[in-house]
């Protein structure tokens, strides 16, 4: 199958996305390798890589709850990780609405639609500015 990237034909909705995502993942991998080289072996071994969100900030957030006295390190980590999964999920679900509106830019209204439509996001109703 000949490479479709160089083709001057107006791109359809499907193909460029697929090609684009492949390139992006390759790019992302290259980025990760570079940052690891720059930071050094210690950071590569460090397990903060497991969670993208800073555990200290997550813990501080958790502690604003007056009923919470102590939280184990593991619990803070799992909440951080769950929040990451949550962000991924809500972004993807909101994207569906943007695509329905034939847009490639995710907008606030797409999020509102997702929150209204999806049961798991019911807890968010009325909480966002």
């Amino acid at each position: 199958m000949a490479a479709t990237v160089a083709t001057p034909v107006t791109p359809t909705e499907l193909d460029p996305d697929r090609c684009g995502s492949e390139e992006e993942s390759r790019g992302a991998e290259a980025e990760e390798e570079n940052t690891q080289q720059q930071i050094g072996p210690a950071a590569a071994v460090s397990h903060s890589r497991l969670s993208k969100l800073p555990l200290a900030r997550i813990k501080a957030l958790m502690k604003t709850d007056p009923d919470v006295s102590l939280a184990s390190q593991e619990s803070v980590f799992i909440i951080a990780k769950a929040t990451e999964l949550f962000v991924e999920m809500i972004a993807k679900d909101a994207l569906v609405y943007a695509q329905q509106g034939k847009r490639k830019t995710l907008q606030r209204k797409d999020l509102d639609n997702a929150i209204e439509a999806i049961d798991e996001f019911a807890f968010l109703e009325g909480t966002l500015d």
Partner: protein, 149 residues
Amino acid sequence: MAERPEDLNLPNAVITRIIKEALPDGVNVSKEARRAISQAASVFVLYATSCANNFAMKAKRKTLNAGDVLAAMEEMEFERFLEPLKEALEVYKKGQKGKKEVSEQKRKDKEKKNDSENDKSREEEEEEEDRMEEEPEAENEAEEEEVEN
């Protein structure tokens, strides 16, 4: 230092990165959408914490643990998160164990280093040994007394 929930947002750069990695290339995210997702993430943390804390309180524990959070996920209808969370937890636990071993090893190395520095002056060492030989006996006597009591 009392922090209010409104003051504690998750870092924008990280949120943006998570969003970008979740979405296909070519998709943009408006500033308002990003801000709303970041806010939603904070609300999620608070809701999950509250839910997990209920489980801890039911079990009459003051410390939130991993199990409480997993139970909260199920309660919040995020069962789809359970498997990836359990896997991540396993890796995290191994990492923590490794860190403990590394810091213990570092401590041992430090002690070894201190010992080797003492070797520099032999005379001092001999004197120290003489003193040290006397001390343990004194300590032993003290210990025996304590045991008897």
